[in-house]
């Protein structure tokens, strides 16, 4: 494979040609870069044409992030599939979350994305709106992908601009995780699902004073998009309204002020302590580091947090009306649009999400199983904190509100902008109103593309 075309690029300066030829130039570079490997692959293995023989050997590449526990479960579930379909084998790649999206983006830009890849709602729209995911609608229509037992809201959470872009692999919901052990010691009541935001802050101020200022009553979640979203939903709004932020400047100012009040009454810790937890890493959460009595997380992270502290933890819904909460698709598996074995890949996803045996192997590692039958079968196998988290979510399910549409392209940027501007207020670098205005302006620009 000689990269002849790209080498010719340097020959004529790209800056002094007509625009048409410039466009073809760029296309030429990219086409040469992308066509070559495809040709090389074709040359390498002759069986690359999708054959009609269902028993022809197929190797699917699959890519996910997670720890070693997730890897073992996923590998076992895939081995089950291979046992049933000996002609299908898997090329498995897994890594930490750090650098995962850098790598996935690089592979995709190079036309080399894996057949199946794990993705979350931060990136799903980015990939789907840029046409990198296979539309699974027709497979769902022909029942090759059976969604009859998948909760409708979860399935919907994988639909971007009318195209089914991902199969939800699990469900989670926001959960306020609190330090049970500490409250027992202090002789204070535990927080409850349905308590108002103001009640939470008043309760938190008590915790702070009872503990002599050693432990603050609550984390300040003003930088947490989940908390803001739940709070907005309780007022009949959403975080996103199409490709715009669904909140007004007044809403946001009120939100920032609510937490400024909490910090002023020492219910919530000072900015530097909050900052440590804002990025969301489990090891830095305040219930783990012992700096506050609550952490605003996903309910299914309870076991993870419990592992990191000796004190017993519990979980309730975020404050306010629990209808602000919803069943969120925690993770999806998507299929690359350029996959040469799309039909087989779909069948694999169908197996992973709907097969009870596979579900038992996968457990609730990616959230509560999306298929309700599987969920019931798995529930009996859970222990300790995992069982607590699953029970909490199951109990809350009847109170859930309508799930919102999947976050649009630009969601990841909006998340980090919220952290930046909420922290501006926390550190006293900006007033609530100024931060609200600046956030809205930038977030809307990011959403508009």
């Amino acid at each position: 494979m000689k990269p002849t075309a790209p080498l010719a690029v340097g020959a004529h300066s790209p800056l002094h040609n007509g625009s048409a030829s410039r466009r073809t130039l760029l296309r030429g570079i990219a086409a040469a870069a992308l066509a070559a490997p495809a040709a090389a692959v074709l040359a390498a293995c002759g069986d690359d044409k999708p054959s009609n023989d269902p028993n022809a050997p197929v190797e699917l590449s699959i890519f996910w992030w997670g720890g070693d526990a997730r890897a073992k479960m996923t590998e076992d579930a895939l081995a089950l599939y291979t046992a049933k379909h000996p002609n299908v084998t898997f090329k498995k790649t897994w890594q930490a979350n750090a650098g995962y999206y850098d790598k996935l983006a690089t592979l995709t830009a190079g036309g080399n994305a894996p057949d199946i890849f794990q993705i979350d709602d931060g990136a799903l729209s980015e990939y789907a709106e840029r046409n990198q995911t296979l539309d699974l609608s027709k497979y769902a229509d022909s029942n090759k992908l059976d969604k009859s037992k998948i909760l409708p809201g979860l399935w919907q959470a994988g639909v971007v601009e009318g195209k089914a872009a991902g199969v939800p692999m699990g469900e989670n919901t926001p959960g306020m995780i609190y330090d049970k052990g500490l409250l027992k010691t202090l002789g204070l009541p535990e927080p409850t699902t349905g308590m108002t935001w103001d009640a939470l802050i008043a309760w938190a101020a008590q915790v702070t004073s009872k503990s002599g200022g050693k432990v603050f009553g609550t984390m300040d979640p003003s930088a947490d998009y989940k908390a803001l979203w739940v709070w907005l939903r309780q007022q009949g709004k959403q975080l996103y309204d199409g490709k715009k932020v669904g909140a007004s400047a007044e809403d946001l100012t009120k939100w920032f002020d609510l937490w400024k009040g909490a910090r002023d009454t020492k219910a919530a810790p000072p900015a530097d302590v909050i900052h440590g937890a804002n990025a969301g890493a489990v090891a830095n959460q305040l219930v783990v580091t012992g700096k506050a009595a609550t952490s605003f997380m996903w309910a299914n992270q309870l076991p993870e947090l419990q592992k990191a502290t000796k004190s017993e933890l519990g979980v309730v819904a975020y404050p306010g009306d629990p209808s602000g909460q919803w069943a969120r698709a925690a993770l999806y598996f998507s299929i690359y649009k350029g996959s040469k074995h799309a039909d087989v890949a779909v069948d694999v996803l169908n197996f992973l999400v709907n097969d009870v045996e596979a579900g038992k192997v996968l457990g609730t590692d990616r959230g509560l199983n999306a298929n309700t039958d599987v969920r019931t079968a798995v529930a009996s196998t859970l222990k300790d904190a995992a069982a607590t988290a699953a029970q909490f979510e199951t109990d809350l399910a009847s109170k859930f509100g309508q799930p919102p549409t999947v976050p649009p392209k630009g969601h990841v940027k909006v998340r980090s902008l919220l952290i930046t501007y909420a922290e501006n207020v926390q550190y006293g670098k900006a007033t609530s109103a100024a931060a609200a205005d600046a956030f809205l302006k930038e977030a809307n620009a990011a959403l508009a593309g």
Binding site: M1, P3, Q95, T106, G290
Partner: protein, 274 residues
């Protein structure tokens, strides 16, 4: 004598300040998971070796395998950099040819572009060569002196070698190849040792390219594997991560100690002046 004591005292104080964070890291690698996030002191409340055991064996593949992978890539890089950069540096530092100044400028220029924007185009290129999922993208560029840092380093060292030595050899009828072999190569040892040390350590710590080009767990290197213990969406094993981080310092530290000796053996140019 008092001067010496003062010197040692200064060194000890500075070393203590410099090493405290590392000692803290070792202390943390001996803490239990419940303690690691909420006890910031150096000394664990209860000692446990379990992090080392867990870190070494908890992944599907024994952690030693990642050490081996890193060592192979790092040693290949050392060799490639030492040879290719030395050749290029000799040309830049000692030989006259048309375009030398321009090439030198270009070489320095390649140091200046932030490498993140090169990730995608480089991937496209190596994809073209069919090198994806092999160590080739990590090693072949080094064989072609693409590490301008080391070329420039060696150029600066060579320019510290008195030219009288070359001239003397020239008068004896030596051509550039012989001058390289008999004059420059023996005297370039400090630069070569420095290049070897940095090549090894930087490759050992390099994360993103290794992550992008290696796909199989069995091919992963230490920095890629270390991150498997830390996952933002849960499943953090901070203790084993500290333990393996401490262990991963050992090979590079030993490499450094072994090689820095070569730096301190004095070089006496007088012998060459004849």
């Amino acid at each position: 004598m008092t001067k010496n004591i003062a010197r040692i005292a200064v060194l000890v104080v500075v070393v203590a300040a410099v090493l405290y964070p590392l000692i803290w890291m070792i202390g943390s690698s001996l803490k239990s998971p419940e303690e690691i996030s909420n006890n910031l002191s150096v000394i664990p409340r209860e000692f446990t070796w379990s992090n080392y055991d867990k870190g070494w064996t908890s992944l599907d593949i024994v952690f030693g395998r990642f050490f081996l992978n890193s060592a192979i890539i790092a040693l290949a890089t050392v060799l490639a950099n030492c040879v290719s950069c030395l050749l290029a540096a000799y040309a830049f530092a000692r030989l006259q040819f048309r375009g030398r100044a321009l090439f030198f400028t270009i070489m320095i220029g390649t140091l200046l572009l932030p490498h993140h924007v090169l990730l995608i185009p480089q991937y496209l290129l190596f994809n073209n060569f069919g090198w994806i999922n092999t160590p080739l993208p990590l090693v072949v560029p080094k064989m072609l002196a693409t590490e301008a840092f080391f070329v420039f380093l060696m150029v600066q060292f060579m320019r510290g070698i008195p030219r009288e030595l070359d001239e003397a050899a020239k008068i004896d009828g030596a051509d550039p190849y012989r001058i390289f072999r008999h004059v420059i190569f023996p005297l370039a040892r400090p630069a070569l040792v420095t290049t070897a040390i940095f090549s090894f350590i930087w490759t050992w710590n390099d994360f993103l390219p290794q992550l992008i080009y290696l796909n199989d767990l069995s091919h992963y290197t230490v920095p890629v594997a270390l991150r498997l213990f830390v996952d933002s969406s849960g499943q953090s094993s901070i203790g084993p991560m500290f333990a393996m981080s401490v262990l991963s310092l050992l090979p590079v530290f030993l490499f450094f100690l072994a090689f820095q000796r070569l730096l301190v053996e004095g070089i006496n140019t007088a012998g060459l002046k004849g």
